[in-house]
Symmetry: C2
Subunit: 353 residues, 2 copies
């Protein structure tokens, strides 16, 4: 193929799709035609993408004709149905949903970690990891290469945009309701009363609160989100027996997930060695000078590509363990950026004779 | 002694002191005279406490004459100077600062866990633990009794009132500045710009953010707050070799600290056994039905006495480990309530011939 390949973006008008158009605008000479596809209610909408005004098309089998790579940023059940249809029409599907991540015949690719896996795609589908896994794993992988990872104990601080645009909208609504009343947050239930019954996609108010639950109930009290982080970390790192305990917590942050990480390794670690490994790692930015006010935070990491890592210290009671804090934009590296990076690996492959 | 003992509250007009007056109002027939003491700028102020209007007195050595128990809710350096003075005047000091907690001759008392330690006070001083330690340890202790604790990996979600009233004020100020602008939180630095340079007692904005830092720099990248949790947990539980790794993070919550806990024990655990132990434990309320939206959260725990515990599950990869989430009011059990409980143990002792 000498012409630039054709890209389809399915779910182009959602929270992730919007960031995707932004990213594509900054990445010229990768794609020929870009086709935006979305659900019925967005069809006909005009969206600016890569300097062009594109008209959103309907999701039909024919929409994939002539498409080389189709990105999916849609709910699990839509991906489960439509990614295979895109494949039968000749496209390679890069899916950001949870539908295929744990499928043995679908690779789970993080380009900084396992780019070679893109070629191993018997179903013609490549999966993108969960946003919380992605923010964290980019920083964990270089340390694994250095010291040999054995165990992860994780606690997350997840942004509302992980639940889509409706999550962002409800947090802004709630902030408007609680701002200005300086008595709020000091009596049981006062915030619930101020916020009212509309909780959007969340089981409790997010304003002036943290909610220790994300996803749906899985086995034995674990949430689906916590299981995803465990299963996906194992698959991406190729460590099927990795011990993982995650607690997923939603916080009143718009965008950028953070994770407090306690990582246990096979060998002794040292904080300066870990910093050195992270300084040289792709997709990572080191911000680790607490005395100067430098540590990873959502308000800085949002809108940027890398995972921000800091607060690196060796456990005081275990010379094989490191504690650190990671923050990454869940809509960029956690979703659109990683998908775009996978698609670019495919574009390169398609152009190589 | 047949008359009721005299109580002094030093720091009566601060965030914790205010809650203390509220608590004393609900606890009649414990104290005879209550004497409120505060810094210069509050002297002469009238404060309602236990139905009486009390006039705030100056902090002088004479203020402690005739006092049986003196509670201190003041900065470390004020406690360090004045608690011993109160003792020389005949009072027993119950101190909520960090000044004496790790002193070998000062017991660190949590009445649900080690009440017998109040009698072991060679310096006449009894210390109250840090607010984050307290919220968590009340739930950990019954599990330690059941299974034998070996290790804690903790990540905190700490409220702004842990930094005093100025922390509460700055969060409300910042919320007013960010509310209504629905674009905020989506570009790097946009929240910093909206909030401005006044950050109150914090190193970064709290609105729409989480800040992985609390306290001052301690050894090797650890914060003083993280060291306190480790040292105090060991002292309270009487486990000098307990392995503890804590990451302390400030979140935009007014009051009530939360902690994600990964606890490793000497023996195998089971989630239902842990729930049973917690159901019967003093100072704990079990809220553990995620499918029904029941888990511990600041907006519910604030203004209440117990530590709220939930999300209890056995680690999937370690039959000796439990993961759970705890939330407790940092001004009540985390400060004023625990101090009041210690003082009441002393009042009982003073009244027993």
């Amino acid at each position: 193929m000498t012409a630039l390949p054709t890209l389809a973006v399915v779910g182009a008008t959602g929270a992730v799709g919007t960031v995707m158009c932004e990213l594509l605008t900054g990445r010229r000479n990768v794609w020929g035609e870009i086709r935006l596809i979305a659900s019925e209610r967005s069809v006909g909408r005009r969206v600016r993408c890569r300097g062009e005004e594109l008209v959103v098309q309907a999701l039909t089998p024919e929409a994939f004709d002539g498409v080389d790579v189709a990105m999916f940023d849609v709910p699990d059940e839509v991906s489960a149905e439509w990614a295979p249809i895109a494949v039968t029409r000749g496209a390679i599907a890069v899916d950001n949903s949870g539908a295929f991540r744990m499928d043995r015949d679908v690779p789970l690719v993080v380009p900084e970690i396992n780019p070679e896996q893109v070629r191993n795609r018997p179903r013609g589908i490549i999966a993108n990891a969960n946003c919380t896994t992605l923010a964290m794993i980019v920083a964990v992988a270089p340390l694994h290469r250095e010291y040999g990872l054995r165990e992860l104990v994780l606690a997350s601080y997840q942004a509302v945009s992980g639940a889509g645009q409706s999550g962002v909208d409800i947090l802004h609504d709630q902030l408007t309701k609680v701002a200005g009343d300086r008595t709020l947050g000091s009596r049981t239930g006062d915030v619930r009363q101020a916020v009212g019954d509309d909780l959007g996609p969340f089981p409790a108010p997010l304003a002036l609160n943290v909610v220790p639950w994300a996803g749906s109930p899985a086995d034995s009290g674990w949430s689906s989100e916590e299981m995803k982080i465990r299963n996906e970390s194992r698959k991406i790192l190729g460590l099927p027996d990795l011990k993982v305990s995650a607690t997923c917590v939603r916080v009143p942050v718009v965008t950028a997930h953070s994770v407090a990480v306690h990582a246990v390794f096979a060998t002794e670690v040292d904080a300066e060695g870990a910093r050195e490994a992270l300084r040289n790692a792709p997709g990572v930015i080191l911000v680790d000078d607490p005395a100067a006010g430098e540590f990873p935070m959502p308000i800085d990491a949002v809108g940027t590509d890398p995972s921000w890592v800091g607060r690196i210290r060796r456990a005081l009671d275990d010379p094989r363990a490191l504690d650190f804090f990671v923050t990454g934009d869940n809509l960029r590296k956690g979703a659109a950026l990683n998908t775009a990076q996978i698609a670019e690996l495919l574009a390169k492959e398609l152009r190589t004779p």
